[in-house]
Symmetry: C3
Subunit: 153 residues, 3 copies
């Protein structure tokens, strides 16, 4: 099954790729390594999940935010790569930044919203290394930010 | 001297590699670049140093935590690479995340607990680039998290 | 126009590369990928912009700090690469860490101080992927830390 079919089966329609909010690229390619800039949980250019885990944002809302970030990562790849998501031969790494209180401890549970979708979309090659950490705040008060690294060789 | 001898000389026995706490891989390889997921200061699957630098965790305890993270990075590599740690030709980068108060300023001193051990184990090829930053909290209340990038080409 | 001319035109004289504050390398190279360790907004070895965005550090001071970090990234590359900055064929990624309060939301505006200078110096190959996040504190109370990845193949 190809990636488009997998996405359809999951009920996911990739949105149009968002323009970066400043003077940088959403996707950068060198030596067959593809780096995707940190993506926010935005829908139609507006951050949809704001606030902090451990305060106004629930675990479920946090997971939803991580999933939205991942969908934006995928839409950036779809727009930037010659054969879109089919170009990817390995998902290398995800970095997850969780806006949260100093008392919060369930960062990994939140980030699963992104990792689980990645594996659902890509199968075995979607299994990736990952680092997840808390942050006091993110651009535009986003609750989660996700960056990614992929291989197309 | 090979890496096993070096570890023995340092009195370090690598623990069994911990399973990731969620749906991701501890080690990911693409294009001879090896990415190790963020590791916590865990012993036998339990985080051994919790809390924050600048509050309940002392500088010495923080350094010990960074060293424990690095030992877990090494045990993941030992388990994942065909010839274990001997496969590595260059330690590329360490990323250090230090759970701390907003007033804390000695992040670099804490992270030396990881960097010094890396150089002790690998010698010249163990010298690496590094970024060290503070975070308000980490998964499972860990005091430190360390991620790594290595080359096996 | 070469990079030296571009720097001269921008009125920038690269300072001598700072020694790392601990047991690691400022620049690490593997497989033609160049990783630059997190750089602080230091002048002559002393951090010039301390404190936090959203508190004692203004947006303009934060942008100035990001620009100083980038100048230190460039001076590390100039010192480490065989043909200095002319060796670089692609700026791959910048990572920006902004010391700030939990209420701060304009991380991207601060980080533009680094990204805008990068594009001014390198032109089209200077356009890069980027992740920008808040942190509660940085080494030596720096207001900003910037790390980078470059390609020389």
């Amino acid at each position: 099954m190809n990636i488009s079919d997998r996405l359809a089966e999951l009920g996911i329609t990739l949105p149009q790729a968002m323009a970066p909010v400043a003077n940088y690229l959403p996707v950068s390619i060198a030596n067959n390594m593809v780096t995707v800039s940190g993506q926010l949980p935005a829908i139609s250019g507006k951050v949809a999940v704001t606030g902090k885990l451990g305060a106004s944002v629930s675990l479920e809302e946090g997971q939803h935010a991580a999933r939205l970030c991942l969908i934006n990562v995928l839409s950036q790849l779809q727009a930037a790569l010659p054969s879109g998501l089919e170009s990817i031969t390995k998902v290398v790494r995800l970095g997850g930044f969780i806006a949260c209180t100093p008392e919060f401890t369930q960062h990994a549970v939140v980030m699963n919203g992104a990792s689980d979708l990645m594996v659902a979309v890509f199968g075995e090659i979607g299994r990736h290394a990952r680092s997840t950490v808390g942050v006091p705040s993110l651009p535009l008060d986003a609750a989660v930010e996700v960056e990614g690294q992929f291989y197309i060789g």
